[in-house]
């Protein structure tokens, strides 16, 4: 009790940055394990590349130089040039913006959508649950790449349609997860207490249930990002995602495929970029799982 007197002065300021403290704890935890540190570093690099793309890129990513086609990696062209003489390094750097856009847009669609579907189904149960979960089942039963293909084929190939298509197929697992989480504590006393205080179902879901589901949904979203990147690259590779001349990594592999035997650098570097970013997301997701585990939280 003697402690409470001295802390009382600091208390009004401590209420807000509680989230910041938690975020710092999580980052500190992540840097402790080498694998998640690797994920963090690669994603940090990706972010820096995307933010400062025009400064980092050595050439204009769209500028063709037909005198210099299929130039092998050299000091002038760090990763070589493609069949139209464009610098591959600069295209990769600019392509990181496209990758990040895809990830960002897919995440802000998929996260809330899955969370709402799952928590509503889990909290109400009964008929609501049945209807919502059957809808989820329908989306879940399509192979995601095939549904994306059908969608893009119907609406025409473009980056935006690819993003919508990926979002459409990526939310059901999140909804499943959120529902399962919700069901484990919808009978908890603190939910009953909220009901006794007169809270509406919407308020209970938003204030009491969503904060409990958020960690596992975040982990799942991070792990999902690798799949999202691969699907986007796959769609780009099939010519259904980003259209030329956009420097999308999957599309770069697709066009480089024809020259693969003689000019290995055309496919290798975009391939390595896709590999390292999806690996980084997977490792980060694994790390987050440990960091956000409620038991670990209590220990801190």
């Amino acid at each position: 009790m003697s402690m409470t007197q001295e802390t009382s002065a600091a208390l009004p300021r401590r209420t807000m940055p509680q989230g910041l403290i938690a975020a710092r704890n999580i980052v500190v935890f992540l840097t402790r394990s080498p694998t998640s540190l690797f994920g963090l570093v690669v994603l940090g690099l990706l972010l820096i590349l995307a933010l400062f793309a025009p400064l980092i890129a050595t050439h204009d990513p769209y500028m063709q130089d037909l005198q210099n086609t299929l130039h092998p990696p050299s000091s002038d062209y760090l990763f070589g040039t493609d069949e139209l003489g464009r610098d591959i390094f600069s295209r990769l750097v600019h392509g990181s913006r496209i990758t990040l856009t895809i990830i960002f847009l897919v995440t802000i669609v998929v996260g809330p959508l899955g969370l709402i579907f799952g928590t509503v189904a889990g909290y109400f149960g009964g008929k609501v649950d049945t209807v919502l979960m059957r809808i989820t089942d329908i989306f879940l039963s399509f192979p995601s790449l095939i549904l994306s293909l059908a969608f893009v084929a119907a609406l025409g190939p473009s980056l935006n349609n690819a993003i919508i298509a990926i979002a459409l197929t990526a939310w059901p697992p999140i909804a499943r997860l959120a529902r399962a989480e919700t069901m484990t504590f919808r009978q908890a006393d603190y939910i009953s207490a909220a009901r006794l205080q007169g809270a509406s179902p919407a308020r209970i879901i938003w204030r009491s249930i969503v904060p409990m589901c958020l960690p596992s949904v975040l982990i799942r979203l991070t792990l999902n990002m690798a799949t999202v990147i691969l699907t986007a690259a796959g769609l780009g590779f099939l010519g259904l995602g980003a259209q030329p001349p956009l420097p999308e990594w999957g599309a770069m592999i697709a066009t480089g495929r024809r020259y693969m035997i003689d000019s290995w650098w055309l496919v290798t570097f975009p391939g390595l970029a896709i590999l390292s970013v999806s690996l980084a997301f997977n490792l980060l997701g694994d790390g987050l799982r440990d960091a956000l585990d409620p038991k670990q939280m209590n220990r801190r």
Binding site: M1, T4, T7, S8, L11, R14, T15, Q18, A188, D189, Y190, S192, A193, A194, R195, L196, Q197, G198, A199, R203, R207, S208, P211, M212, P294, N298
Partner: protein
């Protein structure tokens, strides 16, 4: 101060009838105990009154109005509940401030800060605890917060679902004394579930003994020490409890 009247309360879960025509009268300002073995339906009665469980038949009134006809906000301001497990009844990711403020926001009460401070003082917790999280508090402190959360809406009736059984003995006494003091100060009507006759003896004016979803007998507090139970089961229960106490 409002009385609770229960008439013919029945509830069935699947094929099992859990409560058989329960009728009880709890006087205004009284502390009424519900005792019985596990599964005898004590907690279910509380969940029916509070409408956490709504598939019952019969009639439950607080004061003059039936709980089923009340507006949600009126019901919340009239009756609150304290749960058994203080580790499960506070939201683990809400600070005490958020927990207490939630009810005030929902019911659109003014002077939230003042009410929270008064509620914390009422349950004997330092006001600085408002910014703590449940995992930073001990079991007894958490139960005090749970009581504060119930108090803050200024109800007339408090439903207590074994409020001390998850706490160790010294803390039990603290919380029980707190409840007794609050009743004296604010004139609550308590309906308390317990399986501990010592607790009932300490707190309650009258108590009902339950078995298999039926009320066996309603007895005054003195019946525990002086005898006075007429039903065999009631005599057995009280006898067993006294024997157990002598043994320790």
């Amino acid at each position: 101060m409002k009385p609770i009247t229960i008439n013919d309360l029945c509830i069935t879960f699947g094929a099992v009838q859990v409560l058989h025509n329960i009728s009880l009268d709890v006087k205004a300002g009284e502390c009424f105990g519900l005792v019985g073995e596990s599964g005898s339906g004590k907690s279910t009665i509380l969940r029916c009154i509070s409408r956490l469980n709504d598939s019952w038949t019969g009639d439950v009134r607080i004061g003059d109005s039936a709980v089923r006809d009340m507006e949600v906000s009126d019901r919340c301001r009239m009756m609150q509940m304290v749960f058994q497990d203080p580790y499960g009844s506070l939201h683990p990711r809400h600070s005490i401030r958020t927990t207490l403020e939630e009810g005030l926001r929902i019911n659109k009460l003014d002077d939230r800060e003042g009410r929270m401070i008064r509620a914390m003082r009422d349950v004997g917790l330092p006001v600085e605890f408002l910014d703590r999280y449940p995992h930073q508090l001990s079991g007894g402190q958490r139960q005090r917060v749970a009581i504060a959360r119930a108090l803050i809406l200024e109800p007339d009736v408090l439903l207590l679902d074994e409020p001390t059984s998850a706490l160790d003995v010294s803390v039990q006494a603290e919380v029980l004394n707190l409840l007794v003091r609050l009743q004296k100060e604010k004139g609550f009507t308590y309906l308390m579930v317990s399986h501990d006759l010592a607790v009932v003896d300490h707190m309650c004016d009258r108590f009902a003994i339950m078995q298999h979803g039926r009320v066996v007998e309603v007895l005054p507090r003195e019946a525990i020490t002086q005898g006075g139970a007429t039903q065999t089961y009631a005599q057995d229960l009280i006898g067993a409890s006294l024997e157990y106490e002598h043994a320790i």
